[in-house]
């Protein structure tokens, strides 16, 4: 095999190597800027997803909640203003809703907003955060009147 062919092969291979690296970088780039932002209050569009949503945000009444209220448990009556979101719920001193409930973790859950939609998110608590009878594993949308159970405490969103 001639010297020139080998030289061309060498250059070609390095080119392939760099084409790969640059394509990977361009995929990362489009990944950063190409994501779609979902319309507020609607579940994010999931093309081809087997999970179909039955109805958008059930139990949700008209109007937007402005405060989170502890309605049941040792600390019932505590009110936190949703304007200060994200709202941390837990036994720790930095929690916006500080509970003295033995079944609550230091940083138990938090209430966060995305557009007009409020979500409750478990922060890896020991005993879990429940919506109804379901333990949540991911941020879950909540609306007015949704009751979030944390330990022996129930937190509700109100106007």
């Amino acid at each position: 095999m001639s010297e020139l062919t080998l030289f061309l092969v060498r250059i070609a291979y390095l080119a392939i190597l760099w084409i790969f690296v640059l394509s990977a970088i361009s995929v990362i780039r489009s990944d950063m800027f190409g994501a779609r932002v979902p319309t507020p209050a609607a579940a994010p569009p999931q093309p081809g997803n087997q999970k179909k949503k039955k109805k958008a945000a059930p139990k949700q009444k008209r109007g937007t909640p402005t405060q989170a209220v502890v309605v049941q448990g040792v600390n019932s009556g505590i009110i936190a203003d949703l304007a200060a979101a994200p709202i941390l719920i837990g036994r720790g001193n930095d929690a916006a809703i500080k509970l003295d409930d033995d079944y609550v973790s230091t940083r138990h859950a938090r209430i966060v907003a995305s557009g007009d939609q409020w979500y409750v998110e478990d922060l890896g608590s020991t005993n879990g955060t429940y919506l109804g009878s379901q333990r949540i594993t991911q941020p879950v949308p909540i609306g007015l009147g949704s009751q979030v159970r944390i330990g022996k405490t129930i937190v509700e969103l109100r106007k």
Binding site: Y13, L14, A24, R36, K53, Q138
Partner: protein
Amino acid sequence: MPQNSALMGFVHRRRRGAELFLLILALIVGIGAYAVVGLGVDGEVPTNLIGYGGWLTLLIIAAHVTVRLVAPYADPVLLPVVAALNGLGLAVIHRIDLAVDTSDASRQLMWMTLGVALFIGTLVLIRDHRVLGRYTYTFGLSAIILLILPMLPGIGNEVNGARIWIKLGPLSFQPGEVAKVLLVLAFAGYLVQHRDALALAGRRFLFIDLPRGRDLGPILAMWGVSMAILVLQKDLGSSLLFFGLFLVMLYVATERPGWLFVGGGLFLAGAVAAYALVPHVQQRVDIWLDPFADPNGDGYQLVQSLYAFSWGGMIGRGLGEGMLTLGSGDNVHLRVPEAHNDFIMAIIGEELGLTGVMAVLLMYGLIVERALRAALISRDGFGKLVAVGLGTVIAIQVFVVTGGVSRLVPLTGLTTPFLSAGGSSLVANWVIIALLLRISDQARRPAPPVDQPAEDPDQLDTQIVKVMPREEASR
């Protein structure tokens, strides 16, 4: 609210098509390297290219299909980069095989098969990485047992002065490679539980927030373990890896630079003590400071590695065309000893030049970047810490090895992830990538609508209430 909508309103696409496209390019990189090696050494395309390429393609397709099925939102770049690195590594090992008539490449391909199988197994079995957070102390204990195993007589095996292998019949294995994955999981579980105490208590001294004395326990213990590895097993690399890993995770968990000062101080003290007391370490440092003091003896390996880089120059001599061996006939031996292990970067430097080395380093950079990205967008603390830890493991290894062979830092024995021959390391690194993909899948997946039934009802109905000995009780 605005900063949250910026974070939570951001919906990631699945990008599986992009992953497939990159995987095809990665296969061209891997199989192309194999073909070019054949061209360079024998002047013809190797006859088993179809079989070899087919097997590689099969493995990669299997991995890709698994990701499509069980982690559809996972990061699209990680798997292709790993496939390209592994393919390139196989080709370079094959190149060394051709030079000195060994058969490391076929063994490496077997290990890669096992690695991909474990990758698939990890993704299929672990559907939620948070499950791993329950076994903090089990993982920690297993890691320590694995680290002790090579010290036991009978199964422990000493190679090149480092006692880090165990030998069971014909199989030799490096338990430290598995231990590093378990340690990341154990550290993450521990730090998630104790980060408040580690982060908040303490006092200020000279603009540095020093941690509280009694919180120093874990870092001192880890320092002790690292020093024990260094002294007893003479494994400089692992000792550095474990301590650096712990320090980075501690810093990320607590956001307190004070830990870096304490850890850096401990590291310096340990390094000075090791230099003074352990002859092995002293020798490595002396070689690093002046490899040409004894270019045919102690410094031989490093000197040859430096020559390899310089002969490679900008674009290298071409795969299969470097001067890998010295001697002739029966006396043929590798010019750079251990070329297929620690010094594989030197071979890449010689045959692919600076251009190739930079591409490889950039690929490692991409892996680490994707790991940190997964940590950033991950929604739970445990996942964040595991992703940071796994990224750090790769970063430290690449830094220590590449820095070692290019004389930036003293040479220590660590494997180059995915490139160098060595089954235990390859298998462990594939598992690391599987865990990273799982975390990024969880992180990028959009939040499900509220009325959706739980994904795994029989796991959710019965809850085990852990009794945790926590410091909150005393507050």
